[in-house]
């Protein structure tokens, strides 16, 4: 069983005021994707030279300029931002301008307000935008990316994560990211660079509400400041952080909810629900006698669930366009 069992982390701590957020339904985003595309990348986004997609489950956005990203031909004089700082500034400027474009677009705001809040205006920080408010963006790094074919610099990759402002301070959103690829523009003008690639893992939110704490007396590793000062029981390689959590790209999500993420060592992350609304599932697998036994531990929620397993057997498949599934014998290696 995982170390996430509630009994294993008992410790005292103060009661927290926790907020949760409603996520804009992806269906509404898809219905308005033409307007959204224009706000992000202008009319050029409909050109055959670019690809623009909004994931139908998560709403994550993917954009790339097919000709400008990883250019086929070698060019030693590609006019990119000259420094890491200049590239980061270009990315921040793009994100800020795009956020403003969304926030000030009355048609878009009214459309989403009508659908989400019965017409009540969506105001900062919940104005509808596929880009989070600039103050919520944390710069996570800028890197020069070279073209594999000829080793020449191709573009700058600027990475951002989302940190939500709450009454208790800024809290990170785990699994969130906005990646911008800044390359050379073909248009000339004062700015000779442009966003030629964009990948977002962010689900726009539109309303906050209070949620009750999941474990009022537990949740953090035990810490005794006096003992720690004396060099006693100290977890130097472990810390717990109140965080929000985005689901994977192919998983629907209706609410952005608080969790307690404990990082230990260099790679291990364990998660506990921080509120009673914050559902959490841990899966463990054991193999015996040619079978897999999968055990799920479900925490949080009301107890009024609908639950089902889904699984895929690679030997039961159907050819695309065919109605019935076929069973194929395993191929012995």
């Amino acid at each position: 069983m995982s170390g996430n069992h509630p009994h294993s982390s008992a410790a005292r701590r103060p009661t927290l005021n926790l907020s949760a957020f409603k996520i804009v339904p992806v269906k509404l985003i898809i219905q308005n994707q033409t307007l959204i595309r224009e706000q992000l990348f202008g009319g050029g986004a409909s050109s055959p030279e670019v690809s623009f997609e909004i994931n139908a489950v998560s709403g994550y956005v993917s954009y790339r300029h097919r000709k400008k990203l990883y250019r086929e031909g070698e060019r030693k004089t590609l006019a990119l931002p000259p420094t890491e700082e200049a590239a980061t500034l270009a990315a921040k400027t793009f994100l800020s301008e795009r956020y403003q474009a969304f926030a000030t677009n009355q048609l878009l705001q009214q459309t989403f307000a009508n659908a989400l809040t019965k017409g009540k205006p969506l105001a900062y920080p919940f104005s509808f935008s596929m880009i989070p408010p600039p103050r919520w963006l944390k710069h996570a790094g800028t890197y020069l990316v070279r073209n594999d074919k000829h080793e020449q610099p191709d573009h700058w990759l600027c990475k951002f994560q989302v940190e939500i402002e709450t009454a208790g301070g800024k809290l990170p959103v785990l699994n969130s990211s906005l990646d911008l690829r800044i390359g050379e523009s073909g248009g000339g003008g004062a700015l000779n660079y442009e966003v030629i690639g964009f990948q977002s893992r962010w689900r726009p939110i539109y309303e906050s509400y209070r949620v009750e704490q999941f474990l009022p007396d537990t949740g953090q590793p035990e810490h005794d400041p006096a003992e720690e000062q004396n060099g006693g029981h100290v977890h130097l390689d472990e810390f717990t952080l109140l965080s929000y959590l985005l689901a994977d790209e192919k998983v629907p999500q209706f609410n952005l909810l608080p969790y307690e993420a404990t990082v230990s060592g260099e790679h291990h992350l364990s998660v506990l629900p921080a509120s009673k609304h914050s559902l959490w599932v841990e899966l463990n697998v054991r193999k015996a006698n040619g079978k897999y036994k999968v055990q799920a531990l479900l925490m949080g929620g009301s107890g009024n669930y609908q639950a089902h397993w889904g699984f895929w057997d690679p030997y039961v498949y159907k050819l695309v366009g065919q109605k019935d599934a076929k069973k194929k014998k395993p191929i012995k290696g």
Binding site: P6, V251, L279, V285, G290, W309, F311, K328
Partner: protein
């Protein structure tokens, strides 16, 4: 022309059993037993009261070379 495969997802209702805990929290367990050939398992949970959804997916140990669609296929091969 290469034929394309689509995996059929099997679904099964999950039986959730509530665990007794010292704290007033909701903790449930569920189990599923599947054959060795299964590639991936996911548990979907929808909380009807809170209108929340969560899904957790786990990949099982399978060798890619055993999968019928993991190697180039010709029309002759798919007619077996």
């Amino acid at each position: 022309m290469r034929e394309q495969f689509s995996l059929k997802q099997n679904r099964r209702a999950a039986v959730l059993i509530k665990l007794e805990t010292e704290l007033d929290v909701q903790v449930y367990v569920a189990e599923l037993e599947v054959d060795e050939g299964v590639q991936e398992v996911v548990l979907h949970v929808f909380d009807e009261t809170l209108q929340n959804f969560v899904a957790k997916r786990i990949a099982l140990n399978i060798h890619a070379t055993e999968m019928p669609f993991a190697r180039p296929l010709s029309n002759e091969r798919t007619k077996d």
